[in-house]
Amino acid sequence: MGLLSELWRGLKVTGSTMLKTIGGSGLVTTEYPKEMRHKPQRFHGRHVLNRYPDGMEKCIGCQLCAGACPADCIYVRGKENDPESPVSPGERYGYVYEINMLRCIFCGLCVEACPTEAITMTHLFEMSTTNRQDAIYTRKELLMDESGKVPHMFPDDELADLDELNTADGWLRATAPSGVAAYEGVQMWQGTPGAASWDPEPSQEERDRASEGDDG
């Protein structure tokens, strides 16, 4: 009898869930292409290569991202800048830059490794292609143009939401610097890709004040 009453308890759970679902509440899934779900701020989507507000490329071709990538899917070749018309403020710039999106696990370690915030992630994740070649994103697809617009592989695709390419994953903002909670929301880094301006970094005194009372 204990068996049957336990069974009944279980049946009640599923039964009431069913009634709730039929009543139209408590759905945990959505009809995806028709109805997009809100993405959390730190959602890891497609990468983008950023520029400085003056139009210079941020990537200095150092290959640290390629070294950090656990999936080994970034290929970078640096090239000396021409002193007359430099592409990046550094000594070199990312001359070849490829990410194989089929291998990428969207861990964000490349973003963490990059010393110049050249590579960041956006909220776009609709990247299906019909051939493997298209899944390898090159400089052409990754790099934003001088006005801060990020290119989309298939801009005519009905699922292509170009706004998502302009939303940064927010990882940098949320964890820098040294993970001190008091800095949450303080704009230390550029919040969005593109040439947008951002608040100047707070001075050292301000930072000390902000971290007062914080053991970190």
Binding site: L11, T14, T17, T21, L27, T29, E31
Partner: protein, 368 residues
Amino acid sequence: MTWAEFWIIILRVVLTFGLLLVLTIVNVWLERKVVADMQSRIGPNRAGPYGILQTVADGLKLFFKESVTPRKVELGMYVLAPFLAVVPAFLIFMMVPWGAPFMIGDQEVALQGADLNVGLLFILAMSSMAVYAVVLAGWSSGSKYPLIGGVRATAQAISYEAAMGLAMVAVVMFSATQGDGGTLSLAEIVERQSGTWGDIIPAFEPVARFIPRWNIFPQIVAFLIFLIAIVAETNRAPFDLVEAEQELVGGFHTEYSGMRFAMFFLAEYVNIFSMSAIAATLFLGGWNGPTFEGSVPAIISGILPTVYFLLKTYAIVFLFFWIRATLPRLRYDQLMSLGWKRLIPGALGWLILSTFVIAFRQFGVPWG
């Protein structure tokens, strides 16, 4: 046999077969929808209104897929096994009366594939045949997971078939007291459940005349045992150790693909429906129910019995889905101990008890 009789037999078989196929297609969809609802999901909703054509789409897809034959299979058995699964599944339902007989001219058409006088025995035989399909599929695949699935199927079928048979015996024995001698014909068993208990137990007339004369009331324990046994017999969760995706990939059908896999799939759902139909027939009075003859048009009172039959059957089919969405799979030793230590002794005890009750009612108590 005259030509008229011949055509009526053809008509009966085609009608029954058609009903079964259509309802099976609906059932696959229904299960996915019900389980989705129970898991707060939407479920299939792309093909057709409410996704009801999903099964058709899946069937078409499987039809056009290659049937991969692995190198190590025992070819003959491997090809035969899916047919061994499907044919008994369809034959079982042929025994079930699914509506009141009607007249075409002067010929009576019973809505039943065939009315064997050993219907129940035939059902038991066919449901045991279906186990061969699983065992042979598992063995002939030449790979270890299907083999384990097949071996499990043997042991499971033996233990639960015993309980199922014993539960059936109790009903058949009871049903024998309700009419003129014992019968194994399903049409006859249904016939004997018509009316209400009012005519049988005059003492409780005022109450009893609202209770239909279904076998479930005197045979509730047999009904429960039968229900559990048919879930196990059709290899459904929580007794789906034969398939057990998490342990055995796909169990006995791991090596099957394309149309051959589709046949196993079809057989499973046909079995669910026919077993539920048999439970409804044996315990819930089959197609019996108030038809309001005379006060509604003849066509409605002709269709109502089929509606009652489907309602009762779907109540049990729904229970199948509900239990599947609720219970986790049993461990193998739990399956065995439930079968041998609880169901079979329970069924035997109930059988003995009802034998005594029936005997005392028939022949009087020895001390009286």
